[in-house]
């Protein structure tokens, strides 16, 4: 039995943000909403740090049976190694973006709508990572989806509304396909609990069908090529804090579910040809996404296409899960953390550039570094991690993938890694080249702008470097959690 603190704090991860969302909805004053949000975000970080250290130290998952109702009837919450790192990442990135959001919004109207939805989004994310019941996961997924759609829509422009409507349709179809998979599983096995299901799962037609539906649904939600069509519009038209959260964490939640189903619950039906197909789609995503990022005319669109490409890397590790599961798992987790921090920092700095310049058309951002040195610096550090330059977390993540591919004898994935890294440096240096050179042509910025809000983004950029420098500590921590 784990100590009482951990038993109580796990349901608190759901109750606290949910309660905060309702409170932010009711409280009329914006400044009180901000204070509550900062306060709760800090508490969540503390809880997640304690939980992660407990779970990773004891090297066994934390089981919490809510209300004393045992599965199969009750719903269990589980924090496992992967989940605890995702929780920690969510809470830290959430805190950084919360800091940023306080200074971001100009209109009070928009901001007062932002806070409740923001906390519903965090509830959904934390819920996906602690849920150990496939139907409960569906509920959290829907909460996450509806909150994301609404957060894009509060931007209020016609483009944002259209993008959010498209995102809603794709998201609903994705979660309905997931629900269909759940229905088939329930019909076949009669249980919903992850661990009971993992014991019962067999290789038969209905399980294969269920996994296919769930995979299709989650592929839509995490925008794996060729189902990525909704992502660039949705992520580039949202406000900066929302874009950062969607790209860094929301698509990872869908990936987390997909990963859990493939390699923890329905493992008997996973075949080499299936994982190779996923790896192939990932490789296509890396190349196609990078190419589109290179030709993107707007800064935020470029960053959004970069997300399409980076998601591909996660699926490159799927074929490696068969022969070397330990290594591949570590690489995936490392990649998620490195990309999450870098992409959030990048979207936040892109948001501050867009705000100061009034637009994000790349051709008109020449020499803007003289006005916004901090934003461009954070963008550059995040770029280094996305490209995979040495001291950053992105380098270690790609190195782990590469080593892994060679070790399991599937060297052809290495080619994709190289091409992807090359293309990433091409599209990111395109931005840096434009912003650093021809300073004499720098646009004159109208209005006041401050880079004070970028504190959170700066912290995330520092984390991307730190996790590169502390690679051995982090990999051993992840490795022990299996």
């Amino acid at each position: 039995m784990p100590p009482t603190f951990y038993v109580i704090s796990t349901p608190l991860l759901l109750v606290l943000p949910l309660f905060t969302a309702i409170l932010c909805f009711v409280v009329p004053s914006i400044s009180i909403k901000r204070y509550i949000s900062i306060f709760v975000a800090v508490i969540l970080v503390i809880i997640c740090i304690l939980q992660a250290s407990y779970v990773l130290d004891s090297a066994e998952p934390l089981h919490v049976i809510v209300g004393g109702w045992e599965p199969p009837l009750g719903i269990k919450l589980v924090v496992n190694g992967f989940g605890s790192i995702m929780l920690l990442m969510t809470s830290i990135i959430g805190l950084a973006i919360t800091f940023y959001s306080i200074h971001y919004f100009e209109s009070n109207d928009k901001e007062s709508r932002f806070w409740p939805l923001w906390w519903f989004l965090i509830t959904g994310l934390l819920g996906v990572f602690v849920s150990s019941d496939i139907f409960n996961t569906y509920i959290m997924l829907e909460l996450l989806g509806l909150a994301s759609v609404s957060l894009i829509a509060i931007q209020g422009t016609q483009k944002a509304l259209q993008a959010s409507y498209q995102y809603l349709l794709v998201g609903l179809l994705g979660s309905l396909l997931y629900l269909l998979g759940v229905a088939i599983i329930y019909r076949t096995y009669g249980v919903l609990d992850n661990e009971l299901l993992a014991e019962l799962a067999q290789n038969n037609l209905s399980t294969k069908l269920a996994l296919a539906f769930i995979t299709l649904g989650m592929m839509m939600k995490c925008a794996l090529f060729p189902l990525h069509f909704w992502l660039p519009e949705a992520h580039s038209n949202a406000s900066a804090p929302v874009s950062a959260m969607l790209s860094a964490l929301v698509i990872k939640a869908a990936f987390f579910i997909l990963f859990t189903f493939w390699f923890e619950i329905l493992t008997p039906v996973v075949t080499m040809s299936a994982v190779t197909l996923m790896g192939f789609l990932g490789a296509c995503a890396v190349i196609y996404g990078s190419y589109r990022a290179f030709t993107a005319p707007r800064l935020k669109l470029l960053v959004a296409y970069s997300t399409v490409a980076q998601i591909g890397y996660l699926f490159l590790a799927f074929p490696l899960m068969i022969d070397t599961p330990e290594l591949a798992r570590t690489a995936i987790i490392y990649f998620i953390v490195a990309h999450g921090c870098a992409k959030a920092a990048m979207f936040l700095s892109a948001g501050s550039i867009q705000k100061a310049a009034g637009h994000d058309r790349l051709a008109e951002l020449k020499g803007i570094v003289i006005h916004l040195p901090v934003s461009i610096f954070i963008f550059a550090v995040a770029s280094a991690s996305l490209i995979g330059l040495p001291p950053s977390g992105g380098f270690i993540a790609k190195w782990l993938l590469l080593k892994n591919a060679v070790q399991s004898g599937q060297w052809w994935w290495v080619v994709t890694l190289f091409i992807g890294g090359l293309l990433a440096s091409a599209y990111l240096f395109r931005v840096l080249n434009l912003t650093f050179t021809s300073v004499d042509q720098a646009p004159i910025l109208s209005g006041t702008y401050s880079e004070k809000k970028l504190l959170g983004a700066a912290v995330l950029a520092i984390i991307t470097i730190l996790i590169g420098l502390n690679a051995i500590w982090l990999t051993s921590m992840i490795g022990s959690s299996a």
Binding site: L73, F135, I139, E142, G145, L146, V149, S150, A153, Q158, L161, Q162, S164, Y165, L168, L169, L172, L173, L176, L179, L180, A183, I184, Y186, R187, G190, L192
Partner: protein
Amino acid sequence: MIMLTQSILFSICAAILLAIGLMGFLLTSDFLRKLLALNVIGMAIFMVLIAAASADPNAIDPIPHAMVLTGIVVAAAGTALGLNLASKIARFARSIQNENSTQQNKTVGSEKVRSEKHTPDGKGK
């Protein structure tokens, strides 16, 4: 020959509904029809769950009923959000249409009418 039990009948209906819904979603370009098609797909999945509940006609399983109930609530919330977004998009489209028509009227020569007509419509909440 397989006996046509209630469970099998429901499953067949669910498959037909699912096919109709998916076709509607993928083949129409109308945004509202897509939302309706999603609701049809939702109904199909609820029927799969109901069929799972009556797999053994002597002992009806109540858990799928609870799942269907939750699913209906989620579907209603999603549809409401979608309709709200659609009406906002339609308002934008209408204001652009107005703008175009007033720009054509501008040749007739009333700048004043244009600016008056714009303020209530252009910036909907």
